[in-house]
C-alpha cells in the first residue's frame, strides 16, 4: 500500500473516521483586531520597531533619509513601485534586484545594504510584513548586513489580528510572507546575545507620511 493510503488509513482508524468525512466545525479563529487611529499606529510603530525608525514628511525627505543611510556603500533595492517613485532606484549606488534568480542572488550577496518596501507593518510589535513578489525580493532584506525598509503610513496595521483579517490566506498572493520582528539574532553561545549571525545586524525604517 502506498504510504499516503497507509498513513491516512491509520489516522482514520485512530479517529474512527471514514474517507471523505468532512471535518467537524472548527472553533472560531481568535482574531481580536485592536482598533487604533492612524496617529496611534504611526507612533507605536516608530516606538516599537527594533531598529532605527524615522518619519519622512515628504517624498524628498524619504529619499534624503535613504541616501544618508546608503552613504556611498553598495546597495541593492527591490524594483518596487514605491522605491521607484521616490527615486531610490535611481541613486548611483543602487543596483536593482532584477534579472535571473542567480543574478538577483549574486547582487544581494554582494551588497552592503538592502533596500525594500514592505507590504505592511504591525504597530503593536513594530514588525514588518515582507511579501515576496515580482517587485519584491526575498534575499534583498536578508543577505546584506544592513536592511532599510521604506513604507507609507497607510500600510500600518494594528497587529497580527488585523493582518490575518485582511489576508486570511497569504499563500493566495505570494510564496513567501515574512514577519520581520527585528535584526538577525542569536544567543546560542553561553546565552549571550549577538546580532547579524546570518541576516542583517542593523535594520532601518523610513515611514513616509501619506498625504490623505
Amino acid at each position: 500500500m502506498p504510504s499516503r493510503e497507509h498513513i491516512l488509513h491509520r489516522v482514520r482508524t485512530a479517529l474512527s473516521r471514514s474517507a471523505g468525512q468532512p471535518a467537524a466545525p472548527a472553533p472560531e479563529a481568535w482574531l481580536r483586531p485592536i482598533s487604533m487611529d492612524p496617529d496611534q499606529r504611526l507612533r507605536l510603530l516608530l516606538e516599537r520597531f527594533s531598529g532605527q525608525a524615522v518619519r519622512a514628511g515628504s517624498p524628498q525627505e524619504a529619499l534624503e533619509q535613504v541616501r544618508r543611510l546608503v552613504a556611498g556603500r553598495q546597495a541593492v533595492a527591490s524594483p518596487a513601485p514605491l522605491l521607484e517613485r521616490l527615486g531610490i532606484l535611481a541613486l548611483p549606488e543602487v543596483v536593482p534586484a532584477s534579472g535571473s534568480v542567480e543574478e538577483v542572488r549574486r547582487i544581494c550577496a554582494a551588497a552592503d545594504i538592502g533596500i525594500t518596501s514592505a507590504e505592511y507593518a504591525l504597530a503593536d510589535t513594530g514588525a514588518l510584513v515582507a511579501l515576496a513578489g515580482p517587485q519584491e525580493s526575498r534575499l534583498a532584506s536578508l543577505l546584506p548586513p544592513v536592511h532599510v525598509t521604506v513604507l507609507e503610513t497607510d500600510r500600518i496595521l494594528s497587529g497580527l489580528d488585523e493582518l490575518f483579517t485582511r489576508l486570511p490566506d497569504p499563500g493566495a498572493v505570494s510564496s513567501s510572507l515574512v514577519l520581520i520582528g527585528g535584526p538577525s539574532r542569536t544567543a546560542d553561545i553561553e546565552q549571550i546575545l549577538t546580532l547579524g549571525v546570518h541576516g542583517p545586524r542593523e535594520i532601518h525604517l523610513v515611514v513616509l507620511e501619506k498625504a490623505s
Binding site: 504510504s3 498513513i7 468532512p22 479563529a29 532584477s98 534575499l139 497580527l160 499563500g171 546565552q191 549577538t194
Partner: protein, 464 residues
C-alpha cells in the same frame, strides 16, 4: 538498560560546570517566559492556552481531513506533499531527490523532526553533505553531538569549547570572543547557503488551508535555507497541522512568549510552495515531507493523544526541576525534558527505557507552563501504569511489585496496618539495604515516634 540511564544522570549531576550552566540557562529562559506572559503583557494568556488546546484538539480529531486539504493546497501552489510512514522512507525520499538533482550539499535549518529520524547520518551515508546552519546546531554538528535542548541546542557549551571546536574543525585561528565566533560561523555558513543545492527545514506549523509551512526563528538561517537553494524540502510530523493562517495569531504569540518571552521572533516565514511565476527569488521546487513515525499510533490513544499538541516551545524543559539537573543528554531519544518523557515511550516503546516515566517527582510545573495545556503529569502516571501492567503480563519477578502487593493487603486491614506501622518505626532504627539506605545517602532519616497518631488519639483525654 536502565543502568545506562542512571549512569548518564549521575554523570550530569557530577559535572559541576554543567550544573551551573544548565541551571543558569534554563533559569534565564524561565524568567523571560514569565515576563512575557504577565497580566500586562498578555492579559488573555489563560484563555489563549485554552483556545490553543481546543484548536489542536480539533485539528487532530479531524486530521485526515486536514492532511488531504494540505496536500491539495500544496499541489495547487506548485509544490508536492510526500507521505512518509517512518524515518527511513523520509531519508530515502530526500536523499533520492538530492541524488537525482545532483545535490552534493544541503543546508539545514533547525528541525527536531529531522533529528528524530537521523536524517543527517542518512544523507552523509549517501554522499550528500548536510550542514546545520542554526548556530547552536552548527556547533553540535561539529562536535558530533545531538541537540541539548529543543530551543537552545548548544546550551551546554562554553565559549572555550566553541573556540576549540572551531579551531579544530574549521581550521581558523583560535577565537574566544563570542561576537567574533558568531561572525566566523556567519562567514563559513554564508558560503554554504549560496552553494547549496537543497535547503531542508522543519516546520513549526503547517497551515492546511494555505498549503504552507511556518518557520519561526531569530537567526535568519531558515529564511536563507528556504530562499537561496533551488530546492526546499520541509520535514514535518503530521501533528504540526493547523487549520488556518488566522490560527497563527494565537500560536505565534504563545510559541514566542513561552520559548523566549518574545511576542514575535526576528523572523516568521509563511512559505507556500516554490517561487511563483515572476517572483524575483525563491526555490524552484518545494516538497513537504509529512512524517508519521509513530504519531498515528499515539493519535489512537484518546488519553495520550494530547502528547501530539506540543508546539516545541521548550517551556516545560526550562521549568522542570529534573531536566534542570539531569540535562538533555540523560534522556533517551531525540526529545528531552517532560515532553520527551511522554513522547519517547510512546514512539520508541515502553521497553526502550522503562524507568523514564518514573524520573519525575510529578510536581506539575510543566503542565502549568505548557502553552497548549498538555497534562504531562497525567500522561506520566498513565505510562507508569502501563509499564507495570506490561511487567505483570510478562510475569517479570519484581520485589517492588511483591512489596506493593503485601502493602496493599496490609492497608486494607487496620490491625495489620498498625503492626506494619510499628515495624516501619523499628526499621528506621536499623541500617538495612534498599529504599532506606538510598534515602540515607543524602538525607537524614526521619526519627521514629514513640507512638503513632492513633495510639495518641486513643490515649487522649475526652472532654465533656
Amino acid at each position: 538498560m536502565s543502568e545506562a540511564f542512571h549512569h548518564r544522570i549521575q554523570e550530569a549531576l557530577l559535572d559541576e560546570r554543567l550544573q551551573a550552566a544548565l541551571y543558569a540557562a534554563t533559569g534565564r529562559l524561565m524568567d523571560k517566559r514569565r515576563s512575557g506572559v504577565t497580566a500586562q503583557q498578555l492579559p488573555d494568556y489563560q484563555q489563549l492556552r485554552t483556545h490553543a488546546h481546543r484548536i489542536k484538539q480539533h485539528t487532530l480529531e479531524n486530521l485526515d481531513y486536514y492532511l488531504e486539504l494540505v496536500e491539495r493546497r500544496v499541489a495547487e501552489r506548485g509544490g508536492r506533499v510526500v507521505w512518509c510512514r517512518d524515518g527511513s522512507e523520509a531519508q530515502s525520499f530526500i536523499s533520492g531527490l538530492a541524488r537525482d538533482r545532483g545535490v552534493r550539499l544541503a543546508v539545514k535549518s533547525k528541525s527536531m523532526t529531522s533529528e528524530e529520524i537521523g536524517l543527517n547520518e542518512a544523507l552523509e551515508h549517501r554522499g550528500i553533505e548536510p550542514v546545520e546552519t542554526d548556530l547552536g546546531e552548527f556547533i553540535i554538528q561539529l562536535a558530533g553531538q545531538k541537540p541539548y535542548h529543543i530551543v537552545a541546542p548548544a546550551m551546554h557549551k562554553t565559549r572555550q569549547q566553541v573556540a576549540d571546536l572551531f579551531e579544530r574543525k574549521l581550521g581558523v585561528p583560535r577565537e574566544e570572543e563570542i561576537e567574533k565566533q558568531t561572525m566566523i560561523a556567519r562567514t563559513v555558513l554564508r558560503q554554504k547557503f549560496l552553494a547549496a543545492g537543497m535547503g531542508i527545514s522543519g516546520a513549526n506549523f503547517v497551515i492546511a488551508e494555505s498549503g504552507a509551512v511556518v518557520v519561526v526563528e531569530n537567526e535568519g538561517n531558515a529564511r536563507l535555507a528556504t530562499s537561496s537553494p533551488p530546492i526546499h524540502v520541509a520535514v514535518a510530523g503530521i501533528e504540526k497541522l493547523l487549520p488556518r493562517a488566522a490560527d497563527l495569531a494565537v500560536f505565534l504569540q504563545l510559541l514566542g512568549r513561552s520559548a523566549t518571552g518574545q511576542p514575535l521572533t526576528s523572523y516568521t516565514s509563511f512559505l507556500s510552495g516554490p517561487r511563483r511565476a515572476g517572483e524575483l527569488d525563491g526555490p524552484d521546487e518545494f516538497y513537504l515531507v509529512l512524517l508519521d513515525n509513530g504519531r498515528s499510533r499515539i493519535l489512537a490513544d484518546r488519553e495520550k493523544r494530547q502528547t501530539l499538541y506540543c508546539i516545541r516551545c521548550g517551556a516545560c524543559l526550562n521549568i522542570c526541576p529534573v531536566f534542570r539537573r539531569i540535562g538533555g543528554y540523560s534522556y533517551p531519544g531525540a526529545y528531552s525534558g517532560p515532553i520527551g518523557a511522554i513522547l519517547t515511550p510512546q514512539t520508541l516503546g515502553l521497553n526502550h527505557e522503562p524507568e523514564l516515566p518514573f524520573a519525575s517527582s510529578l510536581c506539575g510545573a510543566c503542565a502549568e507552563v505548557c502553552p497548549v495545556k498538555i497534562e504531562i503529569p497525567q500522561m506520566l502516571l498513565a505510562l507508569r501504569g502501563e509499564v507495570k501492567k506490561a511487567e505483570a503480563r510478562e510475569r517479570r519477578w519484581n520485589p517492588e511489585k511483591l512489596g506493593f502487593r503485601i502493602w496493599a493487603w496490609a492497608m486494607q486491614r487496620p490491625r495489620l496496618y498498625e503492626l506494619a506501622g510499628l515495624a516501619t518505626s523499628a526499621l528506621l532504627e536499623v541500617d538495612l539495604p534498599g529504599p532506606l539506605r538510598a534515602w540515607g545517602r543524602g538525607r537524614e532519616l526521619p526519627a521514629a515516634p514513640a507512638r503513632s497518631f492513633r495510639q495518641l488519639w486513643r490515649a487522649r483525654p475526652r472532654s465533656g
